[in-house]
Amino acid sequence: MSVDLEPVTRLSQQHRSGGGSLVMLLQEVQAQYGYLPAEVLKALSREIDVPLARLYGLATFYRSFSLTPRGRHEVTVCTGTACHVRGAATLLEHLQRKLKVAAGGTTADGEFTLVTVNCLGACAMGPILVLDGVYHGKMTADKVDPMLGAVTRQPGGKLDGE
């Protein structure tokens, strides 16, 4: 699969003209592509003259970077302490079984990426699940199933209003 490298050139130029740190640059690149494709990192390395190993180091050190494509929908389970004592582990296990992926993985059909986060700071609502950026509180296994179903049944697999 070939990737459009035009944004890399543009973002690299901005970076070279004094636009912030390497971490910020990678954040922008990820916002552009949804993840950090290998070809993009290679091109970036050439453009800004930074060893690929350093970019790879940053991309694997920080949790928010992904080297693999994300699913069409992102399911985030908060595993902060407050959510944990309120049953987040049960919820996560349920989702792993249902979607047949481990946390961090993407379903075979590319529909869902399941991720965990160490506390969203909305502890009153725990356990919290975030589906495509929308927070849902006091989540249980029986509530989450219809939500996932509803998302995939939308035309084009998209949520309302997207």
């Binding site: 920080y62 302490t81 309120r86 049960t90 349920h94 909305a122 502890c123 919290i128 509180g137």
Partner: protein, 622 residues
């Protein structure tokens, strides 16, 4: 660059004139307040706001009534809150469909709609005035209180309550030396975990000869279960900027960063907005209030690494490097960002600074205990009725926080412990409930103030599982630089997992203690040196529960799946069928058509999904 209509506040006189103008324009006007921070929004605040806007329009009130959308008001369990001023009448989580009725009857008619009022779960009494709510009554909300008065997207709201007045006082007459003296005299200590005296940190930085200096606001609030910094940054970002401006003046910095977690999108948005608005009015930039103070503030978004809350790792991350800590000394106050002297304080610390300047160091030092001054914000979460942000004077007893303010345990459960200080902290058992909470008392009992997270646990929380949870967290978050931290935590996790799976032996307890000592001694930064605390403190107070796991192969709290069995109480089962839907192994028969459910033990994998789902508490764990 100034947008049309925006007035430059380039002198103290102009600031005061603007404040007076705002105060008189607002005097006597009724106001409708809705809290819409992360929690409020997730609970439908946006629909409520739209309904209120429509209602005000329909009633012809849109020009006569202010609608203020605020950040978090701390009573998170009941967000969004709807409050009417001047009556102070309030309603928790009103349905958007009720908005118009409440406007008509309560705002216009002055009548309390009884059935929509908040009911104190302990007394059953309804409470209709926000200022009479027991949850707030026992608090002293110096830092958080303003969240109710300001729309975080409006600098005018902050100006109207006297915002940037402390900065004006400083620039009008105090020398940097005098500012530092005041902060020292106040006794303010860092709210991010370490508890280092803020004034001393500033003095060290100021004493470094001339040249470039930086200030940083640490908003990388990583402790799970702690979210006071999110609340302040989302709800009152200008108070943080004002604190930073005062700090920059005191130490001689002209550039600053707010390093904020990417997991807090609303906080990121609001601090950006606040910086733009302050810059537009000349409160950031060059020659602030016509003085020699220059300050530019940038936002640096975290990329998801807990260790970046550690100050040297944070600096590395701002510089775009791997967020791994460096040995101290040199401290950042001596050599920090890009090698320049740098003061790093956390959000809550910065937000305290304008209060100290405006109301005096003596006033501040009059609150709290001998060595811990002022108030502290705690996030009271977990198995507790009133989940929320609680701000109390240092020295308040834990019992008062958990039971009087927090309202005790839900569903009549029994209190087991409070975990404080996040992954670096420890547990406080029931026998220590009368402990006055301050920096030193917490350290003495093997816990830690940390950033102020308080996770309440009841008899259904397994203490070994909690220790395992924190080791798993730290295993993921250890940056890997120091071997004892990287490998030691991994080993502690393996031992704890073994115990939770019922495969542990008594010798594992001593093994844990030995590993803990090694990790503590052999790590560079705070993450590693405090990492064993959750294990050591649970062992200190709850050894019995560990022993039940390793000797009796029993999990008294009913959490560790390998050590429990589930059954259904036929008397309680209403055959609603919900457990059938969530059971992953089809281990439940009946459960519908009026036949009570029954669990087939040989098919059950003890995943607890039915237990979490059952609305009638019919699933029992033994």
């Amino acid at each position: 660059m100034i947008a049309p209509g925006v007035k430059l506040l380039d002198s103290v006189a102009r600031l005061e004139a603007r404040r007076d103008e705002l105060v008189s324009a607002r005097a006597g006007r009724p106001c409708v307040i809705v809290s819409a921070s992360t929690c409020g929004t997730a609970n439908g605040a946006e629909e409520l706001i739209r309904a209120l806007q429509d209602g005000l329009k329909q009633l012809g009130l849109a020009d006569r009534v202010d609608l203020r959308v605020t950040g978090c008001l701390g009573f998170c369990e009941q967000e969004p809150l709807l409050i009417f001023r001047p009556s102070n009448m309030f309603y928790p989580r009103p349905a958007p469909g009720q908005a118009r009725r409440l406007l008509e009857e309560s705002l216009l008619g002055g009548k309390v709609v009884e059935e929509m009022c908040y009911r104190d779960p302990r007394t059953g009494q309804s409470v209709w005035r926000i200022d009479r709510l027991p949850f707030y009554g026992r608090q002293q909300r110096l830092v958080l209180g303003a969240n109710m008065e300001v729309d975080p997207c409006s600098i005018d709201d902050y100006l109207a309550i006297g915002g940037y007045g402390a900065l004006a006082m400083v620039l009008a007459g105090a020398t940097p030396e005098r500012v530092i003296q005041q902060v020292e005299a106040s006794g303010l200590r860092g709210r991010g975990g370490g508890g280092f005296p803020t004034g001393r940190k500033w003095r060290i930085c100021r004493s470094k000869a001339g040249g470039k200096k930086y200030i940083i606001c640490n908003a990388d609030e990583g402790d799970p279960g702690a979210y006071m910094d999110r609340s302040i940054l989302e709800g009152n970002p200008h108070s943080v900027l004002e604190g930073m401006l005062i700090g920059a003046y005191a130490i001689g910095a002209d550039e600053g960063y707010v390093y904020v977690r990417a997991e807090y999108p609303l906080a990121v948005r609001n601090i950006h907005l606040a910086i733009d608005q302050a810059t537009e009015r000349g409160l950031l930039g060059d020659g602030i209030f016509g003085s020699k103070l220059n300050l530019r503030v940038h936002v640096s978004r975290g990329a998801g690494a807990f260790v970046c809350g550690e100050e040297t790792a944070l600096i590395a991350s701002v510089e775009g490097r791997l967020g791994t800590p460096s040995p101290r000394p040199p401290y950042p106050a001596e050599r920090g960002l890009w090698g320049k002297p740098t003061v790093i304080n956390n959000v809550e610390t910065w937000a305290n600074v304008p209060l100290i300047i405006a109301r005096g160091a003596e006033w501040f030092a009059g609150i709290g205990t001998e060595n811990s001054k002022g108030t502290k914000v705690f996030s009271l979460v977990g198995k507790i009725n009133n989940t929320g942000l609680v701000e109390v004077p240092m020295g308040t007893r834990l019992r008062e926080i958990v039971f009087d303010i927090g309202g005790g345990m839900p569903e009549g459960r029994h209190f087991k412990a409070v975990q404080t200080g996040g992954p670096s902290g420890g547990v406080i058992p029931e026998s220590l409930l009368d402990l006055p909470i301050d920096f030193d008392a917490l350290t003495e009992v093997g816990a830690m103030m940390g950033s102020g997270g308080m996770i309440v646990m009841d008899d259904r929380t397994c203490i070994v599982d909690v220790a395992r949870y924190f080791m798993n967290f730290l295993r993921e978050e250890s940056c890997g630089k120091c071997t004892p931290c990287r490998e030691g935590i991994k080993n502690m996790l393996a031992v704890l997992t073994r115990i939770c799976e019922g495969k542990g032996g008594v010798e594992d307890i001593t093994r844990l203690e030995r590993l803990a000592r090694g990790v503590k001694a052999g790590s560079l930064c705070g993450l590693g040196t405090t990492a064993p605390n959750p294990v050591l403190s649970t062992l200190r107070y709850f050894k019995d529960e560990y022993m039940a796991h390793v000797v009796d192969k029993r999990c008294p709290a009913g959490v560790c799946t390998a050590l429990i069995s589930l059954s259904i109480d036929e008397g309680k089962c209403k055959a609603c069928g919900r457990c059938l839907k969530v059971c992953p192994t089809a281990a439940i028969t009946g459960g519908e058509k009026k036949v009570p459910a029954k669990i087939l033990p040989d098919k059950c994998i003890h995943c607890r999904a039915c237990f979490e789902t059952c609305p009638f508490d019919a699933v029992t764990i033994t």
